[in-house]
């Protein structure tokens, strides 16, 4: 099929799947899950159809409709978007496998709504990935926000509702007040919203306005969880683990940093930022976010909360890379999208597996669990090492490239920041593993699972173990094939200035 | 001097208008408010009539064989005829509402009515418009 067709199809397929899920509903869960899995595989397949063309350097596009003069809903796949689309759709397959095991093992309610909204979210994420202009990106960005809201408030408890308010409050506030303001402003200053190599704002805006505009975009993409607009991410952890895994480690948060990267590369243009130094302060904010969030992560006993804060820090790596406004920095950021995604989703899978298998969510109660759940814990080890950035795992490459970027821009201090944060990562990720294997098992197992039936014997249901193992393998593969990734991304900064 | 006193009829009109407006604002009795409204409208009608008047003009009917008769501008009068109709309709509707308010509340004093509504609010949270209650709806209003 032609890439143009594939683009449209891959955005539509999840919607079709969603409708299928809704039609089948609770009547026949097996058929419903069947539909979900088929959809995920088909979507990944269509996305892969686009890949060769993009690797060959062409940028297939698709124009949907013109909403207002100058506001066009249109898609165009460039390397960065291709990468994001691959990550989202690829991990969706794994996650839905996992979700089925998790939701059933956990006896969750409203599973139909869950899978339906999930599909909608993926469709939105793909839309963001393909966006040809800021307007399209913004449209799907908002769709993503609203389609994930029911997932966050899934439990329907008071806690979930409160979290939902925080989630929606911060994301909508930032996107409407800052991001949309920035977009309208850009439209009126640059006269266009189309992404273009080397940016569209060069020479159009200067002085304090440039700083303000950059701020509007940086803080406007609340999904990038840049402090002080990061609160929604820990709050969103009340959602079922598959949601946290795919959406709040991959789709949603990556949509945020992806937006930041796109804006920096295709709207401002790294030359403009490098020359004016308008993004210096953004680097500082990102660095601060990295360090403080890592420190907070150290204090969290709830595994998911700890992972959430680690995510915040890792996201700021990418923002930092973008803010460096150096080609290596941008590439490093781009690669980190993939590397961190695969690594972090592994960790979330593990967290969920522990919750299903042993009904434990607090790290302090997980002593000695590793010997009973060896596969799960091995996956955890690999994932965390990748996040920390040790070879032979994918994470090492992106972190290396980011360091190169810092060096290229002579931002020595930020090199230090990156290294310190790696140490902190060791600090907050390793204890789980260490406790799991080297501490004696506590038997006064106090655990806060709100599901009456907990099996005395921790077990590893297949559907909950296979996915983390797969993604762990993914981490290794990414180390081996990082070259291809780099080559694919290289063009986005190849033609500097445009 | 003449500049001001020459326009004495405007002063009259403005005075009338303010009287009407004052009654509408200051009176609690709903019927009196309507009266004030009438005075208020009348002042505007007078204004139109006044601006139609031509010095020494007659009624705008040209007798047989009379040339260049000076007559007042008929148009404003025509307009005011319409305005009067509007006034009549408004008054009728307003008084009709007064009657029904009297039946529903047993009072025509705004302050008392407001007090009753506030009590009603306190009693069952402002549901008057949706859930009819015995004391809410005059007997003949309960849908057949």
């Amino acid at each position: 099929m032609t890439p143009e067709f594939a683009i449209g199809l891959s955005v539509l397929l999840p919607v079709v799947g969603m409708l299928g899920v809704l039609l089948i509903g609770e009547r026949n869960p097996d058929a419903r899950e069947g539909v979900t899995l088929v959809t995920t595989v088909l979507t990944l397949g269509t996305v892969l159809q686009i890949l060769p063309g993009v690797q060959a350097g062409e940028q297939p596009g698709l124009e949907v409709l013109e909403v207002l003069p100058g506001l066009v809903l249109a898609f165009e796949v460039e390397p960065l978007g291709m990468l994001f689309a691959l990550v989202a759709s690829g991990l969706w397959v794994v996650t839905s496998l996992y979700a089925i095991g998790y939701m059933r093992g956990h006896h969750e309610i409203n599973q139909t709504r869950f899978f339906a909204c999930f599909a909608a979210a993926i469709s939105a994420a793909l839309g963001i990935a393909y966006a040809r202009n800021l307007f399209t990106l913004f449209v799907f960005y908002e769709i993503l926000t609203f389609s994930t809201f029911p997932l966050v408030t899934h439990a329907g408890t008071e806690k979930a509702k409160k979290a939902g308010r925080t989630y929606l409050g911060i994301l909508v506030f930032t996107s409407v007040v800052f991001l949309m303001f920035g977009i309208v402003w850009t439209a009126n200053v640059a006269g266009t919203l189309e992404f273009a190599k080397g940016g569209i704002l060069a020479g159009k805006i200067s002085g304090w306005r440039l700083y303000v505009l950059l701020g509007l975009f940086a803080f406007g993409t609340g999904k990038a969880a840049l402090m002080p607009f990061h609160r929604w991410l820990p709050a969103a952890m009340v959602a079922p683990t598959p949601v946290s895994a795919l959406l709040h480690a991959v789709a949603v948060v990556k949509a945020g940093v992806f937006t930041v990267l796109k804006v920096v590369v295709y709207v401002f243009g790294i030359d403009l930022l490098a020359d004016t130094g308008a993004s210096q302060w953004l680097m500082a904010v990102a660095a601060f976010t990295i360090l403080s969030s890592s420190l907070v992560a150290l204090t969290k006993d709830n595994l998911k909360a700890r992972l959430a804060y680690s995510t915040i820090g890792q996201l700021s790596y990418i923002v930092l890379g973008a803010a460096m406004a150096t080609s290596a920095g941008v590439l490093g950021g781009g690669m980190h999208i993939a590397m961190h995604a695969v690594g972090k989703i592994t960790l979330f899978f593990v967290a969920g597996a522990i919750m299903v298998g042993a009904h434990k969510s607090e790290i302090s109660t997980m002593d000695g669990l590793g010997r009973r759940m060896p596969w799960t814990y091995s996956a955890y080890l690999i994932g965390s090492l990748s996040i920390i950035g040790l070879p032979p795992l994918g994470g090492s490459w992106s972190k290396w490239t980011l360091l190169m970027g810092a060096a290229e821009g002579e931002h020595w201090i930020y090199m230090v920041v990156l290294l310190i944060s790696s140490l902190l990562a060791i600090g907050y990720l390793m204890p789980v593993f260490v406790r799991g294997f080297f501490l004696p098992e506590k038997h006064d197992d106090h655990h806060d699972d709100h599901h009456g039936d907990h099996h005395a014997e921790p077990h590893e249901p297949l559907l909950c173990v296979l996915p983390p193992v797969l993604t762990a393998v993914g981490c290794v593969l990414l180390f081996v094939y990082a070259e291809n990734l780099y080559d694919m991304l290289a063009p986005i900064v190849a033609v500097k200035g445009g | 001097m003449t500049g001001l006193l020459g326009l004495w009829h405007y002063w009259m009109i403005i005075a009338l208008m303010m009287v009407g407006l004052y009654i509408v604002i200051a009176r609690d009795n709903l019927v009196k408010k309507i009266m004030g409204l009438n005075i208020f409208q009348t002042s505007v009608i007078l204004f139109y009539v006044a601006l139609a008047k031509v010095e020494g003009g007659t009624a705008p009917i040209i007798p047989e064989g009379a040339e260049h008769v000076v007559y007042s501008n008929p148009l404003p009068h025509v307009l005011m005829l319409t305005a009067i109709v509007v006034g009549v309709a408004t008054t009728a509707l307003g008084l009709a509402l007064c009657v029904r308010i009297q039946e529903a509340y047993g009072s025509n004093e705004e302050d008392e009515i407001v007090r009753m509504d506030v009590e009603g609010l306190a009693r069952r949270g402002d549901r008057a418009e949706s859930a009819p209650h015995a004391d809410d709806v005059p007997p003949e209003e309960v849908p057949a």
């Binding site: 309208v184 | 505007v44 319409t82 408004t90 008057a128 418009e129």
Partner: protein
């Protein structure tokens, strides 16, 4: 016959009203009224089409040429409003007028329909006429019939609401009458075209400022511009829900058009904004309305009242767009006029559906409705989202124009304020959505069925429109920008 369409546009509904009185039997009247509404829509559509390709139409009532006679004048601007009014009417009428929360006994429903048709013809008359005094007459026709319609709501509060609406409305109307009189005194004409030609000669005199002042205050009352909005919340809250839907969607919109016409074509932007500096008053007022209205809406416990306050805020957006005195600004105002009619009309119809089943519009009585009336509540969610201004809904389109207009004039603070105030909409919409979807239905409440098809279809037509016109803006934004250009050019 086509050359008579401008007259028919107003005459058909006006003559239909007495026919309703003669028909008398509720069912017959209902069918008849619906047919009339649809025919007016057809007429309006044809007019818009004609105007779009062959320019302004002028129709001389009774064959008398202006200024002596009354001229009906159809431009792109008011054809657009005509289509809006008639389309809302033709959606609301089939809905079953006064079926929800009306106190009118079945055997007198025909009077309700008669009043409704008069209201329509009045609105159309205001829009289409080219004669300043005629505007006043039709304004009063509209107002009188809407007082009557409001008073037909359930419960005695409806009566007080109608009464205070009547008092304020009449004062406003009389002010307008006075303003018209002063203009006539200075120019000796009532025809809009002649006025716009002759006024510049007498602009210097202080009388014109007085005339303008009276016109503005009168129109602000009719348009419920903050702080002259006092009549609106009660009127919308206690009127029958369908009536609220219609009034909210049309009445204030027509007044907005009159305002735009007075400002841009009769007095002219140069005078109004240049010499009198209307924007210096209107921008603060609009911002106050946007924030005051939304904040007030957040604290309401009655959905209808909540929507009423949100209407005040939305009117703030429109007046803000007007006071920018720029193409994008006025386009934003005009397009929001249409969009707001769609969403607010739809939302009030949702309330009507609920009150029909549940007999209450209180927020806490709506607990758990999401499961019991899924289709209706889905409509509410969509309507709420477009009220917030989420992309792909109409709300986004109007917000886009307004913010762009603010940015173009470098009023960055105002632009930020627009976006901030639209966040308040999130708060009050979400308050209801949470109640509806996340709260358990009240115990012992008898089961509530989904609203009947006859109600769901009109509701979803309006709600669907908020999505459709959020994506295909040729009809709304396209025509609105043409209309705005025409108004700004000052050509009547």
């Amino acid at each position: 016959m086509t050359e008579h369409l401008p007259a028919l546009q107003v005459v058909v509904p006006m003559l239909a009203a007495p026919v309703c009185v003669l028909l008398r039997r509720t069912q017959a009247v209902k069918v008849f009224a619906v047919l009339v509404a649809w025919s007016t829509l057809a007429i309006a559509g044809t007019l818009l089409a004609t105007v779009l390709d062959s320019g302004t139409i002028s129709y001389k009532m009774g064959g008398w040429a202006a200024p002596a006679g009354i001229e009906y004048r159809v431009t792109i601007a008011n054809a657009y409003i005509l289509v809006l009014v008639t389309s809302v009417a033709s959606v609301v009428l089939p809905f079953g007028l006064g079926s929800a929360g009306s106190s009118v006994p079945q055997d007198r429903k025909y009077l309700l329909f008669a009043a409704f048709l008069l209201c329509i013809s009045g609105l159309l008359g205001i829009t289409i006429t080219g004669d300043a005094f005629n505007v006043f007459v039709f304004l009063e026709v509209t107002s009188l019939s809407s007082y009557a319609l409001v008073s037909m709501g359930h419960g005695r509060r409806a009566l007080m609401a109608a009464y205070s609406y009547l008092i304020l409305g009449t004062i406003g109307g009389t002010f307008i009458l006075l303003g018209v009189g002063l203009m006539y005194q200075m120019t000796g004409t009532l025809n809009v075209v002649d006025l716009s030609e002759r006024l510049p000669e007498v602009m210097a005199s202080r009388t014109m400022i007085v005339a303008f002042g009276f016109m503005m205050v009168g129109l602000f009352i009719k348009l419920a511009v903050f702080p002259l909005h006092q009549w609106l919340p009660n009127a919308y809250t206690y009127a029958p829900s369908t009536v609220s839907a219609f009034l909210a969607a049309t009445a204030t919109k027509v007044s907005y058009y009159v305002l735009a016409r007075v400002v841009f074509t009769i007095f002219g932007a140069a005078y109004v904004f240049g010499e009198l500096g209307l924007d210096r008053i209107l921008i603060p007022l609009s911002l106050a309305a946007m924030f005051g209205g939304s904040v007030a809406a957040i604290y309401q416990t009655n959905v209808k009242r909540l929507l009423a306050y949100s209407s005040i805020a939305q009117i703030g957006y429109m007046t803000l767009g007007l006071s920018f005195n720029s193409l994008d600004g006025l386009t934003g105002g005009l397009v929001h006029l249409f969009n707001h009619a769609m969403m607010k009309g739809g939302l009030f119809l949702v309330v009507a559906c609920v009150t029909y089943r549940l007999n209450s519009s209180m927020v806490d009585d709506w607990r758990g409705l999401g499961r019991r009336m899924p289709i209706t509540m889905a409509a509410f969610v969509v309507g709420g989202l477009s009220l917030i201004g989420v992309p792909t809904t109409v709300g986004f389109v109007s917000k886009w124009y307004l913010v762009s207009a603010a940015v173009q004039q470098d009023k960055l603070v105002v632009a930020g304020a627009i976006l901030l105030s639209s966040l308040l909409a999130v708060v009050y919409v979400w308050k209801i959505i949470e109640t509806v979807y996340f709260k358990a239905p009240p115990e012992g409440g008898d089961p509530v069925a989904e609203a009947p098809m006859s109600m769901l279809i009109p509701t979803w037509i309006l709600i669907g429109a908020t999505i459709y016109f959020g994506l295909h803006t040729a009809l709304t934004a396209g025509v609105a920008s043409k209309a705005a250009a025409l108004l700004l050019s000052g050509v009547p």
